[in-house]
């Protein structure tokens, strides 16, 4: 069991540790700070999994309430943020199950296992290709593209690359092995790249297209 001395002896204490301690001691305003700190991330993760705005709103509320209720069970050995993300992922999957009444939903859904099946679009992209689109067009392209990924790839990509969890934290959060996270991450990255190529590839100039006679 960790003693007060050994916790204080850690060279860097994450600021969330003090906030969690204050909430446990009955200071609700400290929870207010934690909610404001992580609400965008929780909302985003919920949107990525449920792909539905109303569901994401419900998940966000449920996840923060559940975290508050279960704060006594939070072990200081993981970060509060990754613990919260795990709750948000579980709440999101539960919400999907409800929506699809009876159909099992898991992060393993739609995962193809064959090796080496990632196609490669080998065309290079334009420099700063996102500048060819307005902010709203770009957001739509990015949403549509990531929504097309299998769920199990999408969650790994979001946690690891968008939300910045480590491979180990992603594995722990999703209950996956580290090799499984790595393999899904590679496939997710390559598939997204492939799908985005359609929008971002370098447009051929008239000469290359053979227009010039």
């Amino acid at each position: 069991m960790a003693t007060i001395q050994s916790i204080a002896g850690e060279n860097e204490q994450h600021p969330d540790v003090a906030l969690v301690a204050r909430v446990r001691a009955g200071d609700v305003s400290a929870y207010d700070t934690l909610v404001r700190k992580y609400d965008r991330q929780v909302f985003r993760i919920a949107q990525h999994i449920t792909q539905n705005r109303e569901d994401a709103e419900d998940v966000m509320q449920d996840a923060f309430l559940k975290a508050y209720e279960k704060l006594d069970q939070f072990q200081g050995n993981s970060k509060f943020y990754t613990w919260l993300v795990r709750i948000a992922v579980n709440e999101s999957l539960m919400r999907l199950r409800k929506r699809r009444t009876g159909k099992m939903v898991s992060i393993d859904e739609d995962i193809e296992t064959e090796e080496g099946s990632v196609p490669r679009d080998l065309a290079d992209w334009a420099p700063d290709p996102e500048q060819n689109y307005s902010q709203s067009e770009l957001a739509e392209i990015l949403r549509k593209t990531i929504q097309g990924l299998p769920q199990g790839f999408r969650i790994v990509f979001v946690l690891r690359d968008v939300e910045g969890l480590s491979t180990e934290e992603t594995a722990e959060t999703l209950g996956l092995s580290i090799p499984a996270v790595k393999s899904r991450l590679l496939r997710a990255r390559l598939q997204l790249r492939e799908r985005l190529s359609r929008y971002f590839r370098r447009k051929k100039g008239p000469k290359e297209m053979g227009v010039e006679k």
Partner: protein
């Protein structure tokens, strides 16, 4: 090094978790393989674009509404 071997190490290269020796092999492969170089650069760009663009933003009024609902229930002891 083959393209398949290169792809297997792509994530480690992007995440900067390869040894100096492996990095040198990967770089050597890229010098002779434009396809793998394009794959590396565009995969990096893919990650960067998703990191830097908010595709599911939380509008301030919705944020405040959800926040108020959460805190009201927490104050009641949920």
């Amino acid at each position: 090094m083959t393209c398949t071997e290169f792809l297997a190490l792509l994530d480690d290269l992007i995440d900067d978790s390869v040894s100096a020796e492996t990095r040198a092999e990967l770089e050597q492969h890229m010098r002779g393989c434009e396809h793998c170089e394009v794959t590396l650069n565009t995969t990096r760009k893919t990650i960067e674009i998703y990191r830097s663009h908010e595709i599911y933003d939380l509008p301030p009024n919705l944020r405040e509404r959800l926040h108020a609902a959460i805190m009201a229930r927490c104050k009641k002891g949920c």
